[in-house]
């Protein structure tokens, strides 16, 4: 009996302690990364030219991940902002084209910690991106504007390991828009005609069959103390067809950046020693 009472008291103590711990909101650090990209591009836009322009690709990207407040153990959000610049030359190397594109994407993913080291996540994201491909050689069709709003699928697989004494996090994150709206001029329509007010046939429902835009991101975050060095690779495969106009864009880029986890501290809310820290990625 004495043993039973002791066990009950111990159990109660654990439950109380757990309850006390749960009453303290967990800390949800922001995993932020600033990245530079450099690599190659292949761009063809039949509104401008049937030829493919090949050259370099560069980008600056910002990524932010955080566990969601409503269920921080299982849900994370991801914000991805990126601006890309490509320059390519045609096969004859007597003309140049430029591509600039800005993307802002926000997504939410459910994650499963399959093992202490391996996490899988899947969810949805919505993105706005806009830019243009510019070919200064052309007269009345020098630019092809790109504008889209999409919703799609995203997810990641992250694996924590050590190489020697260095901890690192490997991640693969694909992103595939599945539906949305995008802009395309008609086949030989001048932007001047659009300027004059003819807006027919410019907006299209997007699905992967007419606007396929898949991004693959592979990263390795090497944790040197509070800040991590991010090395990675990003590939974009884009192919669209609307109004008999085809655009194909392929980029492969090496990624380098810094990442880390940051906590916003408030003077009004002091940190509790009992608060759990729930990381979004690491």
């Amino acid at each position: 009996m004495k043993r039973l009472i002791l066990l009950s008291v111990a159990l109660l103590a654990v439950i109380c302690s757990r309850a006390q711990s749960d009453s303290v909101p967990p800390l949800r650090p922001v995993t932020a990364a600033y990245m530079l990209q450099a690599g190659s591009s292949s761009v063809a836009d039949s509104y401008l030219s049937p030829l493919t322009y090949r050259g370099w690709s560069a980008a600056f990207a910002y990524e932010r991940m955080q566990a969601m407040k409503f269920d921080p153990d299982n849900w994370v959000m991801r914000l991805d902002a990126r601006i890309e610049l490509d320059r390519g030359r045609n096969y004859a190397r007597n003309a140049t084209s430029w591509r600039i594109d800005a993307l802002f994407s926000w997504g939410m993913m459910h994650r499963w910690r399959l093992t202490p080291a391996l996490t899988l996540a899947a969810g949805a994201s919505t993105a706005i991106n806009g830019g243009c491909i510019y070919n200064p050689r052309n007269s009345n069709n020098p630019a092809s504007a790109k504008l889209a709003w999409t919703v799609g699928a995203t997810g990641y697989a992250a694996y924590n390991l050590r190489i020697g004494r260095l901890p690192l996090t490997l991640r693969y994150q694909p992103d595939l828009p599945l539906a949305g709206l995008f802009f395309s001029p008609e086949y030989d329509e001048l932007y001047y005609e659009i300027y004059l007010g003819n807006h027919d046939g410019l907006v299209h429902f997007a699905w992967p069959g007419n606007r396929f835009a898949m991004t693959h991101l592979l990263t390795a975050d090497l944790h040197f103390g509070a800040t991590s060095l991010r090395l990675g690779y990003r590939a974009l495969t884009f192919s669209s067809k609307a109004n008999n106009l085809v655009t194909n864009i392929y980029t492969h880029a090496f990624v380098i950046g810094i990442s880390g986890e940051w906590l916003s501290l408030s003077q009004r809310h002091s940190l509790s020693r009992d608060a759990r820290i729930i990381s979004a990625l690491y």
């Binding site: 049937p50 004859a92 007597n94 003309a95 050689r137 009345n140 329509e189 001047y192 004059l196 192919s239």
Partner: protein, 338 residues
Amino acid sequence: MKRLLNLILPLLTLIIAGACHEIPQYADNPRGNFDALWRTIDEHYCFFREKNIDWDDVYARYSPMVSDKMTQEELFIVCAQMLDELRDGHVNLSSSFNTSYYRKWWSDYPQNFNERIIEEHYFNFNYRQTGSVIYGILTPNIGYMRISSLAYSIGEGNLDNILYYLRTCDGLIIDLRDNGGGAMTAVETIVSRFITERTLAGYISHKTGPGHDDFSEPYPYYYEPAAQGRILWGKPVAVLTNRSTFSAANNLVSLMKLLPSVSIVGATTGGGSGMPFSSELPNGWGIRFSAAPVLDPLGNTTEFGIEPTEGCAVDLDPQAALSGHDTILDFAITHLSN
């Protein structure tokens, strides 16, 4: 789970395979470049019907001239001759050693213009100039402005100064001879000084696909009068034209002709009503071609030129020119003075 994968995987494969859209590619050799040129024109040129051109027949006639042993110069000649079949001043083939032009649209006609006669014998070289516009007052009290190009927009302030300087004149001559065109926005800037209300300026259309008859419905577009505070012109106007009045200048004439108190004086314009697009061949040669037809406010094509106002068709008399007389200009002065 297996059943689900059996459904998803083929669907995903189908989507990814269908999602990669191809742009037809041609080899960078004489045959490939010739075929690429023919195909580009076939799919994008906009006046096959108006000009009754059988483009397949053109291929059948020119294709045998192409050989993989021919030089770039020889290929250029064959390609340029094929493009001449389009009889279009907006069609060019550009290489590093030559640019092809179809010149018969103006070379088969009298030029009807000699700038020097006006500058010397009418102004004694004492005219005013701003940008691409020269202007002054002719005897007896007729304003004159020559717009040599629309490649650069004429500033609103420049137009104010010109029209203010000529405000006391009884009429205005706008000389568009030898004006090869330029920007449509420059047309709007000029026309806005001669209208007092929103005015139908014409219709614009474009190809919607590669078929020869794939066109959008002509879209009407309108011009507004110049903003309040700008100087408008309401007195009689004579617009001088010759065969080299082309493209955007041709469009300007098509609008001016339908305005009250405006006469078109001189010769039929050169046309050029298709807004040109650009493309290129695998070897890097540039192509320019008419792709988007612009119609006049009555819905008619002006690709073949615009005739002068009835009773105002005049040629420049070469004999009179020798003694310093521009008979087209003289006609316009008399027309406005009366």
